[in-house]
């Protein structure tokens, strides 16, 4: 099997694989750098010429990071906790709201459907900065400052998620839903038993970018959270980095924080990316 495949490799295949390997290696350089950087002792951090790989790995950067925070008014763990709560709540509610909205928009006929779809498409065009002020007015108007809901609500209506899911769900054959209807499934039943499981690849995709958006978001903490205890890890790391920009001593803290912010993104991506492929292979939907 392997041999027969080997024999079929042409020069073009070889060049292709080589090219892509080189490209992949090049793309992974920053990741390798972040990983190594976080474990470098101070002398290595400032080595010139700089090195990619760490010689004497140490955890002292992380110790400093956690210590530094403990010296501030809010413990480091509080930021982590806030981030986890906010990300979890947002992810769950974005998935629930977007899939339900997308199912109805994709598979039901009702008045003003086209207008609603156009408005969703339109809202894809707004830069986040332009909605900062109206969001602030709404959040403070309904007194959600310094609450977790204040973090979640702005991210909840995710036009890009709805947009993607509408495209995906409309490809589910109507006959499937009709078969379920005849089998005795209610609207909720059809949604939960058929639509949701079949949308897993799309849900995985929107989960990845929703996670990345929320995990790295500093806007809600900056604008809507005046209480330091309600702010997230991203905000903390961000202020840490910007506050210590010129300080030589803080480069090690920055290196550790950089890795800390990056790791969950990687995990989520790997986790969901596998799911995306898996479901695509096994679903039998072409």
């Amino acid at each position: 099997m392997l041999l027969s495949r080997l024999r079929r490799i042409t020069f073009f295949d070889f060049a292709l694989v080589l090219g892509f390997t080189a490209l992949a290696a090049f793309m992974s350089l920053p990741i390798i750098f972040i990983l190594n950087h976080a474990f470098k002792p101070t002398n290595e951090l400032f080595l010139f010429p700089p090195r990619f790989f760490v010689q004497n790995p140490t955890f002292s950067n992380f110790e400093q990071l956690f210590l530094h925070a403990t010296n501030a008014t809010v413990p480091f763990s509080r930021y982590v906790f806030n981030s986890v709560v906010v990300v979890t709540m947002t992810l769950v509610s974005v998935i629930v709201v977007s899939t339900m909205a997308a199912y109805v928009l994709a598979k039901y006929r009702f008045h003003f459907k086209q207008i609603i779809l156009s408005m969703i498409t339109l809202s894809l065009m707004f830069a986040p900065e332009t909605v900062g002020i109206p969001r602030y007015l709404i959040i403070s108007g309904i007194h959600l400052n310094n609450t977790y809901l204040g973090h979640v609500l702005p991210a909840l209506a995710s036009p890009i998620a709805v947009f993607m899911l509408v495209g995906f769900i409309s490809q589910i054959p109507n006959e499937l839903l009709e078969a379920a209807k005849i089998d005795g499934a209610s609207h909720v039943g059809i949604f939960a038993r058929i639509v949701l499981p079949l949308s897993v690849p799309a849900i995985a995709t929107i989960s990845i970018f929703t996670f990345q958006g929320v995990w790295g978001d500093v806007e809600t903490s900056t604008l809507f959270m005046q209480d330091e205890t309600m702010r997230t890890l991203a905000f903390y790391v961000n202020s840490l980095l910007s506050g210590l920009q010129n300080s030589v001593a803080a480069q090690n803290v920055a290196a550790a924080a950089g890795l800390l912010m990056f790791i969950p993104n990687l995990i989520i991506f790997l986790l969901f990316q596998r799911k995306v492929l898996e479901t695509m292979i096994h679903s039998g939907i072409k």
Binding site: E175, E178, A179, I182, D183, H282, S283, G284
Partner: protein
């Protein structure tokens, strides 16, 4: 249980100029195997979907078991449907696919297991129960779809072209199995197909539709022998019925069919019909099936009545029969012949019709001129 009545049912899709289903009026008895047949786009699926409750009825009433069901949801109609593309739930195993309907109806777990296993055994898919639909062949998917329908033991089965995605051999085999299944279960079946062979072999009664309008409702034999109009005559039977245009004239008390090439004495049973047509020149279409066309290898003898000479265009041998395509003047005619006699292109055999088996249709309306008075 399981009787169905359509009372002048219409379906008008928004934005369409004419109704997809136009005045569908029909009663289906319980246990009947009814086939809806017609060319693509004639409204068969729409009719079936209205019966299933998947499509709203624009006008008219629908009754199942004498119960008015226009507004009853599909799950409360006690029906099951098999779709052309099977519509198996890709995320569920074969077992779960068959069991879902039972589960949603709150059937006890041991009962579900019992029924799924029984159905699987009947359809010989027991070894597939743990698989996902994507791991099945077309024929196996088809069986699972059938299993899903019969597991619930509904009063009415609805099938929309369930065999059209199978290859010819599997189609013939599954056709036989569906017939057997229906007669074993004794449930009403409404079966949609565009294939007239399927319709003829399966249905106890056949509804032929065209452009949303019922053309004829009859058992297969009657549909074949007594088509009520040109459309049905041409649609049922393969190769299709031959049509020859001509006029009817009265000479010395007998009616004759004639055109440039032929003059045929029309059987007496048509006399009443022609008497009623009060036009002086009566334009008609003569219809005759290939098996009722007589070919004689020798050239036409002017003395012999009813035979004219023809010119062979091509021959088609199917095995048991052979079909000879001939031209008579402008008319093209297909004759079924004994495969023992070979006709070559440009042979000039004499051709005649079995006058006891011919049909006449009104050239303008297409309606058969023999309704009621035909004793074959």
């Amino acid at each position: 249980m399981g009787s169905i009545t359509f009372n002048h049912v219409f379906k008008q899709y928004k934005g369409e100029s004419r109704p997809a289903v136009n005045d569908f009026h029909l009663s289906i008895e319980e246990g009947e195997f009814l086939v809806l047949v017609g060319p693509s786009g004639c409204g068969k699926s729409t009719t079936l979907r209205m019966l299933a409750g998947l499509e709203e009825i624009s006008d008219g009433e629908l009754y199942i078991d004498d119960k008015f069901v226009n507004y009853v949801s599909p799950k409360d109609r006690d029906i099951a449907m098999v779709f052309q593309n099977y519509a198996l739930y890709p995320n569920l195993t074969v077992y779960e696919n068959i069991a879902l309907g039972l589960k949603l109806r709150k059937t006890a777990k041991y009962d579900i297991e019992l029924r799924v296993n029984r159905v699987a055994k009947i359809l010989e898919i027991s070894h597939l129960l743990d698989r996902k639909p994507s791991q099945l062949s077309g024929g196996q998917k088809q069986r699972v779809a059938l299993g899903r329908a019969i597991a619930r033991e509904p009063q009415v089965f609805l099938m929309d072209e369930p065999l059209s995605n199978l290859d010819a051999k599997l189609r013939a085999q599954t056709r036989a199995e569906i017939i057997k299944l229906q007669s074993d279960l004794k449930r009403t079946m409404v079966y949609v197909t565009h294939d007239q062979v399927e319709a003829m072999t399966m249905g106890t009664r056949i509804v032929v539709m065209k452009d949303g309008v019922i053309q004829q409702v009859a058992p297969p034999r009657q549909l074949y022998d007594e088509p009520s109009n040109l459309f049905v005559a041409g649609f049922i039977g393969s190769p299709q019925m031959n049509f020859v245009n001509g006029t009817v004239t009265l000479e010395e008390g007998s009616y004759f069919f004639s055109n440039k090439r032929m003059k045929l004495l029309i059987p007496r049973r048509y006399d009443d019909q022609f008497k009623r047509m009060d036009r002086s020149v009566r334009n008609v279409v003569l219809g005759v099936r290939p098996e009722h066309v007589i070919l004689k290898a020798e050239e036409a003898d002017d003395e012999e009545r009813g035979f004219v000479s023809s010119s062979v265009q091509m021959t088609e041998v199917t095995g048991a029969d052979s079909y000879v395509y001939v031209n008579v003047g402008e008319s093209k005619i297909i004759a079924r012949t004994d495969p023992g006699i070979t006709y070559r292109k440009d042979d000039k055999p004499a051709i005649g019709f079995n006058m006891a088996k011919i049909h006449f249709f009104d050239e303008n309306t297409g309606a058969s001129l023999a309704i009621g008075g035909d004793e074959g």
